[in-house]
Every structure is written in structure tokens, then in C-alpha cells.
Amino acid sequence: MSVAPRLEDLPMHRVPVRFRRIVPDARGNDGDRIWGHGDGAFVACSVAKGLVLRPDEKRSGHGFVEPESTVPLQRYEEDLAATAREWSIDEPPVD
């Protein structure tokens, strides 16, 4: 699963247009929300049971939440689903 450390680092077409004052190239659907997980640094680490964050070496401002070891797809999906309650809406104010 792709993740980004800041709103500005998300692909422009996924940043809701209401944030254009912060991200002038925003082209995302205004019905979408920005969700955050934890408040740690955006560095390689364990983020939940069975899941690790791996910052993208090729693209700054981008990372992957991936299984800590090779697992069946279903197991990975279950681990991701188990984090659902840990995510919260993390949006800057829109003026």
C-alpha cells in the first residue's frame, strides 16, 4: 500500500481540490478524505503487527506499507484491515 509523509507528497490527483491553497496542483475528488496513521518519523520501521513501512528509495515523499516477510495475499490484507481503527482523519484546516 502506497503512503506519503505529507499532504504535499501525495500524487496531485489524490489531493482533494479543497486543499488547493496548500497544494496548488491538487486535482483529487473533494469527497475523498486524508487519513493518517501514528505520528512517528517517515522512516523504515514496524508500523503494526506484521507490517512495516519502507520509504521508497527511488521517489522521495513516497513509501510502502508492506508485509514484514513473504505472506499469502489474504494474510497481508487481514493485517492491513486490522489497522483500520488506528487511522484517523488527518487534514489541515481549509480557509
Binding site: 500524487p11 490527483h13 481540490v17 496542483d25 491538487a26 475528488n29
Partner: protein, 434 residues
């Protein structure tokens, strides 16, 4: 290098993403940005995004912001201080003059009210065009034209950008509309002719004939527009480009005598246009080689920056055994050669000429080695180096080597290069008008 991907292969993902951004912009402008259609565009963008380089992503982000100008919804970025803001116009000017077009675009995002809206749209179009991003260039020229419909160059710049970007169907459709519209400016007509000529090279021969005929009609109509209110057609670069286009259309239609007359008249009318001397010289090859040489000579004396007059005249002088002139032409030509195979040919000719002029063996060997290094697959060069080494090995003079006559440079390649240059030159001429 202007493109953010690689010099040799611009990413198709990048260009597709540009189109999707425009599609999203149009949907958003129509109030349908959050519709299923909008999300479907975003889903396609998701598939492309990981394949873009960081530089491509950066440029596309800029384009996304710029496209809001099309619907008048641009939000200027904020600067930290009034001082910085006051400096922006000068920095934009310096960046444009320094041909730092990405920087111009970025600075405009902070200060889009730097000039009237149509002028900023034009400036953006120019920057995107200079970056070889032709489609965005066309969008911004279209915006400029819609904001200032009476401007003589904006619609022409948009048409030219579409043509340069390979959007031949749309370019031809616009060119036909312009040709059929009695209110079209002469600049637009001239550009339409050029777009039709360019498109004709990419379709079947039969269909191309119709376009070449239309080119001739359109240039003729544009030239007939020369009133005091339509004086831009008299800009030398534009006028010559149009007439050159008409001459080449005649040539492609097999109207040899009309083409010849057109070239003669064109050269008489504007003897400073080195591109015309070159094209006319190419026309003469195979018909009147002596006159072809004279025309290449005129292109060189006129200060051409194209390597082709040097290559064709150098080849002719080599066959005529005028070795001193070959040395001059090859040495000057090296300053303008654009590819290693061109450089290799010029080094080969230098090697042959210097051998024939009894230059030191080491110098001749160096020249042949340079030629082989630059183009290792050119067998003619290899044969001539071998001939030189055999003569020296047998204790003979280098001038006694049995050199194989080099083939004539590729005329079609020369034409392609010059015609591509012509579209750029028209941009410069229209830039003057703007």
C-alpha cells in the same frame, strides 16, 4: 536537454498523463470533477504515476497548477515577503532571456498577474513549447487566443504547436478552417500552410497531393493579404517560410518548373535566408549540380548553422579533387555537425584530403582514427582507412592510396532536418509578432 525524461525516449506515460490532466481540468471546469468520469481519469493516473520520473512528476505538478488558468481559477502561490514579490518580474524576465523555461513557469505561479492574462497565457505557451511539451503549449496559446481574439499570432502559435506535437488530424482540421475563413490573418494562413505541409508527409501519397495543393493555395492567399493592417506576413522569417513551403509543395507535386521559379524568386526576394539557399540547393542536386554548389556556398557565406551545406558542398569538392577547399569545409562543418556520424564523415574527408595534400602520416592516421571512433559502423570510412594503411605499409605515399569515393549525404535526411528547423523558425518569427 529540455524534456524531463531522457534525451532519446521521452516517456509515453508522461504525455498520456498530460492528456489526462487536461481531461480532468475540463471535467472540473464543467463541474464534473467529482463524478465517476473524474474518478476514472484518476484511476488511470494512478496506473501511470509510479512509472514517471521525479522530474516528470515535478513538471506535471506544475502543469496541473497552470491548467487552472484555463478556467480562470488559478490561485497564485504565496511569497514570503513583499521584497521577493517585487523582484519576481525581473526574475521572470531574466529566466526567460536565459532560456530557463521551467524556472519561468515556476515564477509565474507566484505572480500570474505579472502581465495581462492573455500575455501570461502566451508566455506559458512559449515556455511549454520551448520545453518540447507541444500539447500544453497549444492549450495555453488557445487560451491566449480566446482572451485576445484579435491578436495576429496566438491562434497561429496554437496551430503550430499542434503540428510540432504530431497532432496532425487536429492541425489539418484547424488549417482547413483557417484557410476557409476570409477573416483569418496572414500569419495564421501561413502557419496553416506549414501545418498542412507537415501533415502531408505523414499520410498516403494520394491524400498528400490534396494537402500540397491546399498548401499552395493557402500561401498564395496569405501573401495576397499584404495590407498595412496585415503587415506581419512581411516579417522576413515568416514570409520566407511560407514561400519555401509553397516551393516545396510544388516540388512534391512534381511541378518542377514552378518549384524552380519559386525558389529563384524566393532567393532573390530574401537572399539573407540561409535555409532557403540550402533547400534550393537540395532541389538542384541531380538537376544542376553546379548551381547546387553555388547555393550551398551562399548558405555557408550567409552564416548557416546547418551542417548540410558543408556536407553536400564538401562531398562535391571531394569528388572534384579540390582538396584544399575540402579541408576548409570539413573544418568549419565540424562546428555545426549535430551527430557523431556527421562528424565521422567530416573527419574521413579531412583524412582523404590531407592524404592527397601530402600531410604528415601521423596527422592523416589521427583523422581516420577519429572518424572510425566516431562512427565505428561506417564501412566506407573503414575501407578508406585500410586503403591509407595499405599504401603506407607498402612504402608508398599516402596520396597514392586507393580511396573509395564517399557516398553523397542523405538528401531526405537533410530535408527532414531543415523542415523541422523551419517550424522552429516560424515560432521565432511569430514570437516577434507577439
Amino acid at each position: 536537454m529540455s524534456h524531463p525524461s531522457t534525451e532519446s525516449s521521452p516517456s509515453s506515460h508522461y504525455f498520456r498523463f498530460q492528456e489526462l490532466l487536461k481531461k480532468l481540468q475540463d471535467l472540473m471546469a464543467a463541474g464534473e470533477g467529482d463524478s465517476l468520469a473524474g474518478d476514472s481519469v484518476r484511476d488511470e493516473m494512478d496506473a501511470l504515476w509510479p512509472h514517471l520520473t521525479e522530474d516528470e512528476g515535478r513538471r506535471l505538478r506544475g502543469l496541473s497548477a497552470d491548467l487552472y488558468a484555463l478556467s480562470g481559477e488559478e490561485i497564485p502561490r504565496t511569497t514570503t515577503s513583499q521584497k521577493t514579490r517585487d523582484e519576481l518580474p525581473l526574475r521572470i524576465k531574466q529566466a526567460f532571456e536565459g532560456e530557463r523555461f521551467d524556472e519561468v513557469l515556476e515564477l509565474l505561479r507566484f505572480h500570474p498577474e505579472f502581465l495581462p492574462r492573455h500575455a501570461v497565457a502566451y508566455l506559458r505557451g512559449r515556455c511549454w513549447l520551448e520545453l518540447d511539451d507541444f500539447l500544453p503549449a497549444a492549450w495555453f496559446f488557445d487560451l491566449a487566443a480566446s482572451l485576445e481574439p484579435g491578436h495576429p499570432s496566438y491562434a497561429a502559435m496554437a496551430l503550430n504547436a499542434l503540428s510540432m506535437g504530431g497532432r496532425y488530424d487536429e492541425a489539418v482540421a484547424r488549417a482547413h478552417r483557417a484557410a476557409a475563413d476570409s477573416s483569418s490573418s496572414s500569419v495564421l494562413l501561413m502557419t496553416a500552410a506549414q501545418a498542412l505541409f507537415t501533415a502531408a508527409k505523414h499520410i498516403s501519397e494520394e491524400k498528400a497531393r490534396t494537402l500540397y495543393e491546399r498548401v499552395i493555395e493557402t500561401v498564395t492567399a496569405a501573401l495576397a493579404h499584404q495590407g498595412p493592417t496585415d503587415r506581419l506576413v512581411n516579417l522576413p522569417g515568416l514570409r520566407s517560410a511560407g514561400r519555401l513551403c509553397r516551393a516545396m509543395a510544388h516540388e512534391r507535386l512534381g511541378n518542377v518548373s514552378e518549384a524552380g521559379r519559386e525558389y529563384d524568386a524566393l532567393l532573390k526576394d530574401d537572399p539573407t535566408d540561409t535555409r532557403s539557399w540550402l533547400i534550393a540547393g537540395l532541389f538542384d542536386l541531380g538537376r544542376d549540380p553546379r548551381r547546387a554548389d553555388e547555393r550551398f556556398e551562399r548558405a555557408i557565406r550567409g552564416g548557416t548553422s546547418s551542417p548540410w551545406p558543408y556536407l553536400f558542398l564538401g562531398h562535391s569538392r571531394l569528388l572534384a579533387r579540390d582538396y584544399k577547399r575540402v579541408v576548409e569545409l570539413a573544418q568549419y562543418g565540424l562546428n555545426f555537425a549535430q551527430t557523431n556520424s556527421e562528424r565521422a564523415i567530416l573527419f574521413e574527408w579531412l583524412g582523404i584530403a590531407q592524404a592527397e595534400l601530402s600531410a604528415p602520416v601521423d596527422l592523416v592516421r589521427y583523422l581516420f582514427d577519429a572518424a572510425v571512433t566516431l562512427d565505428p559502423v561506417n564501412m566506407n570510412i573503414r575501407r578508406n582507412r585500410e586503403a591509407f594503411e595499405q599504401a603506407i605499409g607498402a612504402g608508398a605515399l599516402a596520396s597514392s592510396a586507393a580511396f573509395a569515393p564517399p557516398p553523397m549525404p542523405d538528401i531526405d535526411q537533410a530535408r527532414e532536418a531543415v523542415e523541422a528547423q523551419q517550424a522552429r523558425s516560424s515560432v521565432a518569427a511569430m514570437g516577434l509578432a507577439a
